[in-house]
């Protein structure tokens, strides 16, 4: 049964129509990534799904009883607030120490429960946020640009962690990302958003769609991917293969991103 279905969603913020006629579905166990230029409404769509912004029109329907784990883009924790990773996992509801330890291990930060959030590296912090999202075994994880502050190896390592979590828990993943080339490899389905859904499909389909190219033609985020397309028309079919190469490369440097 479909976990999440968004139908004809419109959101107006500050007098501006941010989203208009957005349709989106997430099925159990799939990784769906939303890409789009700045100001295309990616984060607003996630916030509308979470119920944080009112809808002008349309509906967001969640499967009854669906648990959602949310990973924000970052957590600006005030230095005056003492908070260990373990305590953070017990917000807002207390969890058993074993459950907290298991969530930390699943997110790749086993044993960091006693560390202050302020003392964590960027990559560790995102994993602790992921661990908190895993509390209560949610059926859907929602991640808002979870790797915005990470370097490229750190980003690649984080996405591999997401895939590992999906494989271990069966949770579906809906995320927003800027890192197009990494995302392409890590997603089952990519949704290209620009106020409305421009195109969607398997990563290689979206990458070669004219709508996607039109959007990312001048964006720096898509420059790398586009270069390959523009100068390499004959090799369009080889495109997913390219990412096959990216992956192990990023893998090799991943440990640096965790420190």
């Amino acid at each position: 049964m479909t976990l999440l279905s968004v139908r004809d969603l419109a959101v107006r913020l500050g007098g501006r129509l941010i989203l208009d006629g957005v349709d989106l579905r997430v099925e159990p166990g799939e990784i769906v990534t939303i890409v789009g230029p700045n100001g295309s409404g990616k984060s607003t769509l996630l916030r509308a799904i979470l119920g944080a912004v009112p809808h002008l029109r349309g509906e967001v329907r969640l499967r009854p009883g669906l648990g959602i784990g949310y990973v924000p883009q970052s957590l600006a924790i005030d230095p005056t607030l003492p908070m260990t990773a373990a305590r953070f996992l017990s917000l807002p509801r207390r969890v058993a120490p074993e459950a907290a330890a298991e969530a930390l291990a699943r997110a790749g930060v086993a044993g960091l429960g006693a560390v202050q959030l302020g003392a964590l590296s960027g990559g560790q912090m995102q994993r602790v946020l992921l661990a908190r999202a895993l509390i209560g075994a949610p059926g859907l994880l929602i991640l808002d640009e979870p790797t915005a502050g990470l370097d490229q190896p750190g980003t690649a390592a984080f996405y591999r962690q997401i895939e590992a979590v999906r494989a271990a828990t069966g949770a579906a993943v809906l995320m927003v990302s800027h890192e197009l080339h990494v995302v392409m490899a890590a997603s089952d389905r990519v949704v290209c958003l620009n106020g409305h859904v421009c195109c969607e499909g398997r990563p290689e389909q979206v990458a070669s769609a004219p709508e996607y190219r039109a959007l990312f033609g001048t964006g720096t985020g898509g420059a790398l991917a586009l270069y390959r397309h523009d100068h390499d028309h004959a090799h369009d079919h080889a495109h997913p293969h390219h990412h096959g190469h990216d992956h192990p490369h990023a893998h090799a440097g991943a440990d640096g991103g965790r420190g």
Binding site: L50, A52, Y70, P72, A76, D78, T80, P82, R87, L91
Partner: protein, 269 residues
């Protein structure tokens, strides 16, 4: 019990009551950077005191109503054109000024504005004690009841919403608790120094704590110690009690922060 002992005991009880009520809320004031907001609400309460005295109403009620109105107004108007701290500055100082002007219209025998600006803890009556402990328990109870939800909202509004918590509601609860603490503390430390009693114990507790709960516990301990030490010192040195309590808290803050810095330097070798 002799008269001397009983008024000192009442003063100590009043100080400790306010310190305990202020501790958990003070932590939120520090974490959420609401220090200026707390100050503004406290200053505004002087207008409430003046109005209450003019209409023969309880001072506690007058201060509470004006503090609530002030807090609600600033919360409501925030983000509508004016920067929040500009708005706070305008509202708080206007309320303080109008309050002091209003006080001057009252017959001189009825009010000494100094008592409400700097507190008059040695004149606390049994009825005052009831109000302080009752209102303080209510404020602390509110904060402790919403503790986890408010803490989640403090970390991030979207994080809270994803957990089914309305951050606006949590802010209102904290605002209500703030108005209550202001109203009970005005007799003890006075409108000008209430924010100090919220912020200084919490700030002094920060280096000693690894979790939010421990920080609140330490803040309560430091606040209570400041109240007792302040009352004792004021009695001995014949100094105004409210400012003396705050001065003791400031010394404890310097001690705590200094010790933490020293320990960190030692660890680095």
């Amino acid at each position: 019990m002799t008269g001397l002992e009983s008024f000192l005991v009442r003063a100590a009880l009043a100080g400790v009551g306010v310190a305990l009520a202020a501790a958990p809320l003070g932590c939120f004031v520090v974490w959420r950077r609401m220090a200026y907001f707390g100050d503004a609400t406290a200053h505004a309460s002087i207008l409430g005191v003046a109005l209450a005295l003019a209409f023969d109403l309880p001072v506690f009620a007058g201060a509470l109503v004006v503090a609530l109105a002030m807090a609600a107004m600033v919360s409501g108007l925030g983000g509508r054109g004016h920067a929040a701290d500009t708005l706070l500055g305008v509202a708080a100082h206007s309320a303080l000024a109008f309050g002091l002007v209003a006080v001057s219209f009252l017959p001189a025998v009825r009010i000494d504005p100094m008592a409400y600006l700097f507190g008059d803890i040695l004149a606390v009556s049994r009825a005052d004690l009831l109000v302080i402990w009752g209102g303080g328990a209510l404020a602390a109870g509110l904060v402790l009841w919403r503790w986890n939800a408010a803490l989640t909202a403090t970390l991030g509004p979207d994080l809270a919403r994803a957990s089914g918590i309305d951050p606006v509601r949590e802010r209102l609860v904290l605002t209500l608790a703030l108005a209550l603490v202001v109203a009970v503390a005005i007799k003890v430390v006075g409108a000008l120094l209430i924010a100090a009693l919220l912020i200084i114990p919490a700030a002094a507790a920060r280096p000693l704590a690894t979790t939010p709960e421990r920080m609140a516990g330490w803040a309560a301990l430091i606040g209570a110690a400041s109240a007792l030490g302040g009352v004792a010192a004021a009695w001995r040195l014949d100094t105004p009690a409210g400012p003396t309590i705050v001065a003791v808290a400031a010394c404890l803050f310097a001690l705590s922060v200094g010790a933490a810095a020293g320990a960190a330097a030692l660890r680095r070798g």
